[in-house]
Amino acid sequence: MNIKSILAKKGMTVVTIHPNQSIREAIARLAQHNIGALVAVDEANLPVGILSERDITRALAQDEQIFARSVSELMTKNVITGLPQDDLISVANTMTERRIRHLPVVEKGKLVGIVSIGDVVKAQRDQYQGEVDTLQTQILGEKA
């Protein structure tokens, strides 16, 4: 299973923000879409950073005036991105080990989606659940 199968059922929109926009705007967008991270994109719609609720919380603990600051000041700039063909299992390992909770997905230089650790865990759970169910049906045979 690859991350394409997660993206396929997430519609087509990725909620993005421009690095020059304010943290105030970013927070509004996070709340509006009920999500945990925004992908910061440049004019070519390519990811240049990622801004998570944790980035905001951490900054807020030190500075209560962060609302007017720009996204680029707080965002994580070294974004790790995935490909649609990336295997679910290696993505799960990478996200767990590197403590990444959101992985923007890029194909041929274009942002095509984002997967969260929650999406990955759910996809894995459904996969295992499906396998167990199928095996049980086969073992029980006609009695299922």
């Binding site: 394409k4 490909l83 299992i89 045979g141």
Partner: protein
Amino acid sequence: MAQLGTTANPLRVAVIGSGPTAFYAADHLLKQKDLVVKIDMFDRLPTPYGLVRGGVAPDHQKIKSVTATYDKTAAHPNFRFFGNVEFGRDITLADVRDHYHQVIYCTGAQTDRSMNIPGEELQGSHAATEFVAWYNGHPDYRDCQFDLSQERAAVVGVGNVAVDVARILCRTPAELATTDIADYALEALGRSNIKEVYLLGRRGPAQAAFTNPEIKELGELAAADIYVPPAEAELDELSKAELERSQDRLTMKKVEILQSYAHRPDEGKPRQLVVRFLVSPVELLGDEKGRVRAIRLVKNRLQPTEAGTLRAEPTGEYEELPVGLVFRSVGYRGVPLPGVPFNHKWGVILNNKGRVINPETQQPEVGQYCAGWIKRGPSGVIGTNKPDAVETVTCMLEDLAQDLTFQPAHPEPEAIEALIRQRQPRYVTYADWLRLDEIEMARGQELGRPRLKFTRVEDMLAALGR
């Protein structure tokens, strides 16, 4: 009017398609407490079960026993089946809006991805799914022709479908005679001249999609020796490191099985099945008559992506593999339904967790849902569709609670039945299917087979006296 979902005003749901997902969705809806739901399931074929009938290999009968669960769902008094009724032709989305509160599309991934290489259109180059549908007696594919006078065949891909095709090509008539394979396929494969079958994997043994039982089964064929070139069975350094890190026991076992095939003595069986790794087809080469004569392969090496997946990259080293038949099994995609938004990028209905999405507004299309392969693409086993269907049904129930449904003018079950009778008088009910099922099994019993399938819609209808 009485509240929707009560005895006085039942929730009316149309399910398009009748494969595993369709039954899991119907079952989950019917099991809801405090909700009265009446379901109509449609299939363009007179027979239900989707890929369980038309995809699961005939020598895997045990997997097909899952249909007993579907029959239970179908026995519910609030369930009806309309077989031989095609969405978009016999009933349209407008008809559905007029008669139901919700519709759920479970039409699967019906078409294959091409390899996008020169020569793919040559004679002797086929989609693996066509071959699968042919040997399983799918009415649309029963008249396909495969040149089994060839001695060498290649199957591109190492997923479940590729493994099925390779295995069926290697089976003896005696092995196949105890299955429910289509009678014409049994006859054609009985005359098969195939001596060598190649399974071609783009990546290495650790990344192959097939499961351990599947690869083990390939080593137990009556009339085919299995072989893996030792150099290709060895793990590269990156795969080794990855496996060391993950300690994934299933993958370790897979690699162990494949490596044992590399060193297994040839038992001199009449056929040979060769599993190749780290090769990608770059061109199909034809003879002067436009027939496949060889497949040109590039050798690959693995490179890690940023997210940690090992991907195949061409090395620039090529080889030619002489084969007269090629079956591609490199991925599948759904077919758009008339009037339903489609996501061409992923080959699925445009959706969010199963809610169909309007491409302009990016908002849900009220009343329309999808589940299974047409929702997430082709992945997982039969049972994976159960949690997937549950996710969609959960959305349907949430929307119902918000009164977000179609507003049908004629929700009474008799109205759509009258319309269908007019549009497609030869529709098939579940009771009809159960009769057909009995006839098929009785025909099979005489021959010592689980069933002898009807492979033409006309024959099915004739058997039912239509």
